[in-house]
Symmetry: D2
Subunit: 406 residues, 4 copies
């Protein structure tokens, strides 16, 4: 009645905790294991490799367990081709579809391993009809006839290995806390951005409206102007308050220069949205010389692409906002493949949305004064995200200083 299979895993599986997690999954599933072969890397540089015989109470339990081991990179020793099932409806995956991780993934088709082009979490895996290419596809983009991978047989993933070397972030993996030496963290983040950019890496900034409210708009504008930001994702609020602060000197009606409420200021953001709707687009306002500064202005001037995604709490919204959320996701997806570093600034909604889209390898910094946001991002699977609990206004100002004075 009981069912058995042998899985294999290799890499820095001991110090990256991978082997421990695998054994943990087996024990939690109330299955048994025997380590049938184990080559432990003798030195830090050596890879280790383990073959583990797994025994569960029945075939179904075994299949379930293998599915749990899968994201840790433990795969059956001999793998058949992946099962491909053609979609029978647009926008719907075949039942039993393989649900993707954001890890580097390969799929076995016709005896060959195909690398998946664009790792993204929570998607389907589609193999081209000529079986030479594999890509992830979000559910809504499935078209009838697409060949979709079902089950996890014939799929391999490569789990992230923790980078070695000490850094101010090492202790943050386990502990997201506000009680850290912040000046050091700023310096380290700016150093990593520099390093990534030196290697041709691209930086994505995801901005919430608090960036403007806390007075950091001009600093982000500087980063855009000086070429540090390659893509900007935000919402209606961020763009509106950025323009409001440049046209009217207020953010949500509060004076940016004096910190005090302004007469009639509570309607300023509506007046700004209304005017931009009259212009037809933010770009039109820049070109007509009406909008002369700020983050959105600098994006238009520098040709930095931006995606403004709609939300149900939007007033207006600005004409540049993509009000269809699926359309907005697709617009973001078009940029995500190029990104090497992502900085998420005081933006719960966008941080989680973008975090879900990024491949596991993208270095991600999530900056928020609210510890729960940072924790939530990690909870959702973006384990590569490093959380920094601090004041986003002061953080950005320091980051801009570090990056631009160099």
């Amino acid at each position: 009645m009981s069912a058995t299979d042998v899985v294999e895993v290799s890499g820095h599986i001991i110090d990256s905790l991978i082997l421990a997690k695998i054994l943990d999954e087996i024990i939690e599933a109330e299955a048994d294991y025997k380590i049938v072969q184990m080559d432990v890397g003798k030195t830090p540089a050596d890879l280790s490799r383990a073959r583990i015989e797994v025994t569960a109470s029945n075939d179904e339990a075994l299949a379930a367990l293998l599915a749990r081991l899968h994201p840790h990179g433990a795969h059956p020793v001999t793998q058949p081709d992946a099962e491909l099932v053609a979609a029978t409806m647009d926008g719907v995956l075949p039942a039993g579809f393989y649900s993707t991780t954001n890890l580097h993934t390969a799929v076995k088709v016709g005896g060959r391993w195909l690398d998946v082009e664009n790792p993204e979490m929570d998607c389907g895996l589609v193999v081209s009809t000529d079986k030479t290419m594999a890509r992830t596809a979000p559910m809504h983009r499935i078209r009838m006839g697409d060949l979709v991978v079902c089950g996890s047989e014939g799929v391999r993933v490569r789990p992230l290995e923790r980078p070695s070397g000490r850094s101010p972030f090492e202790f943050m993996a386990s502990e997201v806390s506000s009680e850290k030496p912040k000046a050091l963290l700023v310096a380290e983040v700016s150093e990593r951005i520099r390093r990534a950019r030196a290697g041709g890496g691209k930086l994505l900034a995801v901005c919430g409206p608090a960036v403007i409210h806390t007075g950091a708009g001009p600093d982000v504008a500087t980063l855009v102007r000086e070429g540090f930001i390659d893509v900007l994702f935000a919402g209606n609020g961020f763009a509106t308050h950025d323009i409001e602060s440049n046209l009217l000197g207020t953010s949500l009606g509060v004076s940016i220069r004096e910190g005090t409420g302004v007469e009639g200021g509570h309607a300023n953001h509506l007046r700004v949205i209304n005017e931009v709707r009259r212009w037809g687009s933010i770009r039109a306002g820049v070109e007509r010389g009406i909008l002369k500064g700020g983050v959105m202005y600098e994006c238009v001037r520098a040709g930095v692409p931006f995606v403004l995604a709609g939300s149900i709490r939007d007033d207006g919204p600005l004409p540049d906002v993509i009000t269809d959320v699926v359309g907005a996701q697709d617009a973001m997806r078009a940029h995500v493949g190029d990104i090497d570093v992502a900085v998420m600034l005081a933006s719960t909604l966008h941080a989680i949305a973008v975090g879900n889209m990024l491949p596991a390898g993208v270095e991600t910094y999530c900056v928020d004064i609210n510890q729960a946001v940072v924790t939530k991002l990690a909870d959702r699977g973006s384990h590569q995200a490093l959380g920094i609990v601090t004041d986003v206004g002061l953080f950005i100002r320091d980051l801009a200083e570090h990056l631009t004075r160099g």
Copy 2:
């Protein structure tokens, strides 16, 4: 050079703090005032009335100050007709448009005061071409030719007066805190819901996914089944996890009955979304007998209308989700006019979006474990919202018990 006008205000202006706020606005604007007449209500039941001569440094400053006094119900003694300007573009208000509050509002047209039908914050005010009706209109619904009120002359609002009488909530106006006697608060909220319903009032529930994660789904389902909830607003996550918990017994992959992760469970919500997409709608799943319980099921069965609004962090989404955020707002607006009590349960995004739409008179309870959410709702102008910082799972279970056992 200096400019002067006389404003009048009446009501329980002293104990409702209204007069104090008016004088405060004048002083903050660095203007002068003389109280030219003051009839103080001699007893708690009597209304008070004050006429205040306001002097600002110039016409512009005076106009700005009058605009600030406006939402407190202080209006110039003699008011001309409101200025009406025809919109020249679809979706764009005339410059200088009057930006609405969520208070009871009247507009003077042809010497008559018209009551505004549907008070909503941050909209324009449109008068019918025959000048017999006035309504609010969000920016995107303006059509070329619409007669839009500009400036605040000829517009009156009636500020909320605080209800008198003592209650467990009295101290919450100023202090949102977790350290309150929670059982009492639950009892009081349920008592108020009963009272509102006894008078024919309707209840809106706005639900976030934590309602399901914390195990309160069955309690909300009971409230729908037993007729306590008249309208439901939520997002893709709430509906998905509700269905997931009923079809598969998990919420975001965690067993609702055992609290433990389930093999392969991380993909459960995707599988559920995919199946509902195959059905075509939630209703279809109910009618085919596949979906047999839960909040969404009960809504379909009881004919309780629901609006599922899209967000950029959505997977799928469910076919019932309105992915265009402006369309989703309009769908919610269609229900908002009937509501007497709103309960917002662990839903930051929806709570703020809905809070922006509700008239000031709707009794609103915002329940969240995160104090910042509750504070944020009040900051956005929904001053009638009473915040309760507690565990939403335990709160709902107790609320359902109170309401259904009566």
Copy 3:
């Protein structure tokens, strides 16, 4: 059966909300009122005055209501002498003792009004045996025979009137939020500290250990060295980590310069405490040339007095820590009378303890990354405290820069 009295109140009672609060208290107590006389200040500069006839259901209810009106400065028109009762035990007040506020207070004895010397909240009010002086006394300092005021007759308080004039803080009274322009707030706080000091005012800094953990120790040390801090209150943790960071370069074992954990670092704070115990005192370490920098070093060098108060979570503690909490309170009391401005930095426990001791007139800034702490301080009655929700490390660095570069 019903009971009536006439109370009088004067000041800027309308725009400081005082009259409104008084009527509110009456209504909440389900009593009736008649405003028998009301002179409204015609201009912002004029004082207003009101006489209110209050009627409650019986003598007891009236007495209770008068006690509630008392802290708002509304006192019966004719006041008898205060009732003085001699304490019959050390450390115990007579039953019915008048419980003090932190407001300016006067007590009527022998027909004369005596100003209370040292307003402090939650104390008793003791009149000297020759009836020429009145002072507050915390319960534990009462000695048998002390003449203690009982009831609230014959006691007057003067409520705080809100300062007029606009400032970045105006909107913070009602809304403690993290979404504020922080650079402006820093500038404003430093300006106010400068102004207070220019007038001879003294600054109290209350510091939690996060000041050191976030890397701001050197900035606080600079502020002490340059004479900006006149008194320092802290606990064992702050002083220990300050010394640890100067002797060993770590704070709770984390390198201040590199942000990384240090081998054996988890015991560093214990080793530091142990060594200071060997020296006998912090001063001894400075004098022997072992401790050469940091906040505590600068305090010793500059003769800035400090109080280190013990807590049950202390390791060691340092020999300078006052382990008896009542003794520690008394040591703090000895300094509190001189203070004009208090800055509370990331220190929940000490912020609340010190907030309870300060007279209402002390300008207080409470800086913490956790909104709940700031709210809690205000809840406890320190209404003059302005909360700033931000990263304390970045805040102090900026504050030190502002103050020292001037």
Copy 4:
């Protein structure tokens, strides 16, 4: 120049992550390793054992690294006797003292391994003069002549192995979050308390004042009366508000039954403290029949020992409060050895203080509405603490129901 040693570790070192952490420490210390021998447990039940040759750049670095490996249970293969140094001053440990963990510990003296009697974190290790017993001693209890272990040679610790088996808590180790099925967590905690008690285990409750404010006082009183709580730790605030709510029906002046402020109520806690001071002790009030209910009453009646520890924010305090914090710690220490389960209820200060004292094996539940508190407890080393982010009032009521109805 480089230095080498061989360490050995055994246990469930792979699935408990112990081996991974050891290799991690070595790599972070920039040292090299060779795994010279590795016996991997073939099945979940088998122990594993590893011998690792560690090479650091010099003797000092090696010693530091060995100190870091020590708490993971990796000790040099051959261990000499521990070095014992006599203390030369009361209250001061010898420099180089071994700083204890809260793990099961043994020390080698005269070739024999002595088990340490009372594991406690952050203490010294004292061997009796006849070298037959070893115990931990907090710094202040060291007496001149005490034989204190220095260095980590000759000391072994046994790291905690994670319990196997699935539970609602399994996912909480890594994720402290408010979005969990709370009813399940309550059921699980009560089940574990039952199980512990069935085996003769003792329960410690650590209570903050919010327990009373949120209305849970009667539930805790029930738990004491019915014998579920064996020891109670709290502060002046908890005991005062418990007595206040029983004598006067309020908690911090807010009516427990109606949730509204009571006339003069802000002074109620002071009046209560004052009366208890007059009685002389809480027990005296119970014996005289004045105090007739509540948590403290039930403790006195049932003979449940309690420790009330002082804090600088205390008013009064109650005569039962130990105002010397070192004395209070020692009073708590006297009870800590017997405890099997600890429940910390809304008490930041006490939770951390007590957490520091408990041996690693004590099952600890930390319940708070503020996620930061729960995280902070884990950060301080109490890794066995399971955090539950919820409303403490509702949690306790449910827990009491579960435990008492059984």
